[in-house]
Symmetry: C2
Subunit: 206 residues, 2 copies
């Protein structure tokens, strides 16, 4: 069975949980937290030298890090990755956009506001910069989903899963999603997809 | 013919130039710079709402942003993307690692030190944090290329191209590569690959 090293309230870890649920693939969870330093312990670094979750472990013990890589690997050959080469490339584009321009603002601002152990990093200047950067990223998304139902191509895909993760909790980072009506409608479309599960869902027995 | 909107001294833009050269695919360059604000002008934002280079424009006018997405799109079906699904997933992993953990430290520190217009952002605390983060990323690479010739799988791939771009110029960001002998040997292997071109190379006629 697949094993996912996962932090329950992390959007990055939610992405593979959501895709695995929608694929109907059984997996078990091993809980690891970045907040208590356990991803920086030698035992975990031995599994993932990058020191981050999520980490996917295959039946044969091989391991894969990076939420975007895990999504692409699990989605290959399924309807969750566009079959058309250019539409697939647009899914790649959204996955990299999420990791470079969206997550470091939208998710990091939430993290600074949410976790007491990070409060020392949350000065006003930094919070203001993150708000600007996050709103720029949300504006890019708003433009796309004003014209189209889904981020990449004409169907729901890993691009939507990747961007849904932190966008649907952006309010806890201080972002006002009422400024983005097309994003709000897209969030509702994603949540209405067959097999959708919320952030706090865990696979049976895990 | 393919068009690449590109900034010549940007490692992110070097990645697709290097792959296109090695694939022997003709393309033309349109020079755009992030430093003079031209990626934030309406005319460019119309082409790429993310406001960044590189941007690839296909013959039919469709456009693709994000260096990692461009690499994957161009490499599909070629020897530069592993055919084995797990090795391919490891290439994805390195591409996301580069954009999340390597480029924001190694490339950004270089940028702060190199471009006079960014000097105001280059305070001591920030430079020290970037040095730490960059050295963590380089240590992850060092560990891999101590045990293996290439980053993903058993052959040179887009993973090596993506990490080569800013690693080979890390010294200009104040990183001491002599601390990473396996990386230095790997850099030499990458530079010895057939069809390798340096950062300042441009396609004929461009």
């Amino acid at each position: 069975m697949l094993t996912l090293y996962s932090q329950q309230d992390s959007g990055n870890c939610y992405k593979p949980r959501l895709l695995l649920a929608q694929l109907g693939r059984p997996f078990r969870i091993v809980d690891v937290s970045t907040n208590d330093g356990s991803t920086r312990q030698p035992a975990f670094l031995e599994k993932n030298p990058i020191g981050k979750v999520p980490l996917l472990e295959l039946d044969d013990g091989r391991r894969l890090a990076e939420s975007g890589a895990i999504l692409l690997h699990l989605a290959e050959g399924t309807p969750y990755l566009p079959a058309d080469p250019f539409e697939r490339a647009k899914a790649y584009e959204w996955l990299f956009f999420e990791q470079y321009s969206h997550e470091p603002a939208v998710a990091v601002r939430r993290s600074l506001l949410r976790y007491p152990e990070r409060a020392g990093e949350a000065d006003e200047v930094r919070l203001a910069k993150l708000l600007d950067a996050g709103n720029r990223a949300l504006s890019v998304m708003e433009r796309r989903v004003t014209d189209a139902d889904w981020l990449a191509g004409s169907a729901y895909s890993v691009a939507d899963i990747a961007l849904y993760a932190y966008t649907h909790m952006a309010c806890s980072g201080g972002f006002d999603l009422s400024l983005y009506p097309a994003i709000e409608a897209w969030l509702a479309r994603v949540a209405a997809q067959p097999g959708h599960v919320p952030l706090d869902w865990r696979p049976p027995g895990s």
